[in-house]
Structure formats: C-alpha cells, structure tokens
Symmetry: C2
Subunit: 268 residues, 2 copies
C-alpha cells in the first residue's frame, strides 16, 4: 500500500494531539482509535473514519496488515507515519501501527424510538472518564435504550471513556441536555418514570416499581445527584450498604440498578 | 508538635518510594496512606501505623492539623518533612501534608467464622488494580464475608487498589491461595457451593441457587477463570449480555452477582 508520508509538523498529526489533550474545539466529536481491536470495532460499526495513520514498522499482527487496507479504503484520508511520529501521537506503551481519527455518532432525541418498557440511564455530573465508559459498557450489555447526560463534566471523546466502554460508545445512543429542567421536560414528555439513586428516604431497589418506561438517575462521584432532580416527587431507590463504606462505585451501583430493572421488565 | 526533621536521603523516605513502586519485598504488607480522608480511615479502623510523615506547610484543612497529633501518637515513629520531600513521595497532584506507611491486616483462614448463608468472592487472576479495589468496595457494601485470591497478578498494597477500595481493604477479610487446588480444598472443607461466572453452558444468574454458603468465582479481564476451576462439576452462572459487547467490566459483573446472591439470601 502506498500512502503519502507525513511528519510530526503535519496539521493532521497536530489535530490528533489536540483531540487527545482536548486543546481545541471538537464539534465533529472526533476521537482517537488505536490498535487492531479498536479498528475492528470501527469497521464493524460503520463509524465514519476521518483520518487513518499507518505505521507498517509498528505492526506485529498479520491481521493488522490486512485490516490496514480496509481502513485506508474507508477513511476520508490516509497517511503513512514513522515510528517516531507514531510514538508522539499514541497513548499506548506499545502502539501497534494503526491509529485513526474517527467520529462518534451524533444522536438526536427524535432518532430514538422507545418501547413500552424502555430503560434509560441519566448520568448527572459524572467526573471520572473511566466510570462513564464502564457505565456505557453496562448500558450496552443490559440492553438499555439510551444514556442521558446532564451537568456533563467529562467529554465522551476522552480516551479513557472510549477504552472503558470497550467500543460500545459507538452503539449506545447518547443524549445531552444543557439543563436538568430540559432533561426532566423531555423525560416527562416521553412518559418515563424517574427513579433517583439516593440512599436517603429511599426504597430498597429490589422493591421498586420498574413497570412502564424507566429512567434511572445516578449522580457525581463526590456530590451525588444535582438539586434540580429533586422536588419533582420522583421515587428514590437505594442499593443496601451493609459494610463500613458509605457508597459503591457509581458505575457499579448504576449497573446493579440497570440489571435489576431489566430483569424485572423481562421476568428473567 | 515537634518532630525530627528528615530529608529525601533518609531510609524511611526511601522505604515509601519502594512501597509505592513495588521495588522491594513487603512482607508486612505496608501501604501508603495519603491525605486527610485516608488518615481518618486509619484512625477509625485501628490499623497499625508504622511511619508518619508530617509536612505542616502542605496542610490546608484545620481538621488535618488536629489529626496530625493523633496520628503521631498512634504511629511507631513520626517525622517532619519538607514540601520538596513530600512531593518526592506523594502520588497526588496536591498532597495535603499527611502521609503514612501503614500495614494491611493479615488474615488467616482460621480467623474467619462463616454463618450458614455466608457469601464470598474468589477473584482468579485479576490484573487491573482499580478493578480489584472496586471489587473490595462492593464486597464490603453487600456484606460479603471474604475475598479469596488465586493466581494473584496484582498486589493488595498497590496504591490504586487502596484508592479504589475507598479504605474498605482494611476491613474486608482477604485470603490468598498459592494454587487453585488449595482454594478448592478449603472451600469444600467449609461446605461452600461454588458458582463460576462464565457465559458458556451457564444458567441465568437470576435462576441460580444461592442457598447455603456461596462462593462466586470471577476470572481475569483477558482470560476469564483459570482451567483449574473447571472439572469439579461447579455450576456456571451468567449475567445476560444483550448488546454489541461480549462482556461486562469484571468488578461490575462480580458486583451484580454478589448483590443478587445477597438479596436472595436475605429475601430483600
């Protein structure tokens, strides 16, 4: 395969660095995909590939050589880079010769059709990218319908979100609302019953009502759910805390609630 | 408070660096506790404090000034260090003037008495420290009786294990077995029913039998459960995977299974 060779000064290389470090606007929601596994995921999901960087010297798997041609065919533009350039833009210890800028899907609330027993999760103010990515992986696994973000503190294109989501960020529909009020108005227009994950004045999550459409709300690692979610009469549900600690990891507690809701909806 | 001032060359400072980087044997299972929150946890749990390092210039909370005296009283030895030395041994961005070497409790299988419906988790070959710490936090939260480690790949004293456990590592009993056979023999002598978390030939986790004493086994992030656990006729249980991914984060799936088991044992 013959591709134009570029160096570290090329604007495309700089763009990767800006995306990794979040040092420039990113209105097309570009993210960096690295390695064979991530590129297989891009090919399978049909996600648009903006720029492909190929470093044949760093490829160690036969399969990666084959994939490189498929990726170059799918990408808007493709370049060949040196080992030295690859090391500048890779976040990995041993980068493996395939690196791309690809775009996350952009979802609109009108794109998503909900069934009678739909299940969604609202993540309010989550701060740690790994938690958000892990949560998205759980949403995919339990067959939930969407993730809603309010008071967003971490970007979906963060390399740790992408990695922890194990690629499921390409398939789980995600909506973001500027204000809690806007999210509440939309949830009510869609006839979702909202349950707040909160240990105060809560019912045990095994006793809660998951009939109809359910929206579970979880809050930030440090501060919990934002004030705006209270005062609407929403039921609070709690996962019992029986030890010396006072909380679970937020992606763990969200996953326990999601699976409980889905099990009850599906009568597993 | 007057304490002996020491610098970066002092053996106690070097010891902290060895513990952080795992570059020396650590037979007393020492770990590094940093900051007010971690020290409150040490004081509450009664964990033995080996060495306390105090840097008053870096303390910004009034409470930390008060705690410093209590910690110095509890510690085997206490030193005053400079900001520069603190920065050398701290793993934090903004260390807050309290740093200690403390010892994890050492558990023996004879120390632990199990009730009729005891619940334990076996973590086989887990590789990522954050996952192990998060798992310990969940064991504490659901009131499980112990964590058993086989094919251990990450040390319990790893800073990320301590942090992700949110201090619950000081209270959750932990046992380690050199071989899977030794763990199996002990579990059978204690009349535990063993359930393997595995999607192949498995029953849905909502349909599994959690009566009596239950030991749940989860495997490594990449390879699953080691061979030695199979061939004993243990039932396999699976959390349904309904999306595009093929697995959950291991601390998430373990937590879902732990809470299901505990909910069924306790009839929540």
């Amino acid at each position: 395969m013959e591709l134009q060779a570029i160096g570290v000064q090329h604007p495309a290389v700089r763009q990767v660095q800006h995306i990794q470090n979040n040092t420039a606007p990113n209105r097309y929601k570009l993210f960096v995909a690295e390695g064979l596994w991530a590129h297989n995921m891009l090919l399978e999901s049909g996600a648009p590939i903006d720029t492909f960087f190929w470093c044949p010297e760093a490829i160690y798997a036969d399969e990666a050589h084959k994939r490189a041609e498929e990726i170059a065919e799918r990408a808007e533009r493709s370049f060949r880079i040196s080992l030295r350039t690859l090391e500048k833009i890779s976040e990995r210890d041993k980068p493996d010769g395939l690196l791309s800028l690809a775009a996350l899907p952009r979802w609109d609330e009108r794109d998503i059709r909900f069934g009678k027993t739909a299940l969604i999760l609202v993540a309010d103010g989550l701060e740690i990218p790994g938690n958000l990515g892990t949560l998205i992986r759980s949403l995919d696994a339990c067959g939930a319908d969407a993730l809603v973000l309010t008071n967003r503190k971490t970007r979906l294109t963060h390399p740790k979100v992408i990695r922890a989501s194990q690629g499921t960020i390409l398939t789980v529909p995600t909506l973001e609302y500027e204000t809690v009020d806007a999210a509440v108005a939309w949830l009510e227009s869609q006839r979702f019953s909202v349950l707040l994950a909160d240990t105060d004045e809560a019912v045990n999550y095994r006793q809660a009502d998951y009939s109809g459409r359910t929206a579970l709300v979880v809050g930030s690692e440090r501060y919990g759910i934002a004030k705006g979610w209270y005062g609407h009469g929403y039921q609070r549900v709690a996962v019992p805390m029986l030890g010396s600690g006072d909380s679970l990891n937020v992606s763990v507690s969200a996953s326990i609630l999601l699976y409980e809701a889905q099990a009850r909806k599906s009568s597993w």
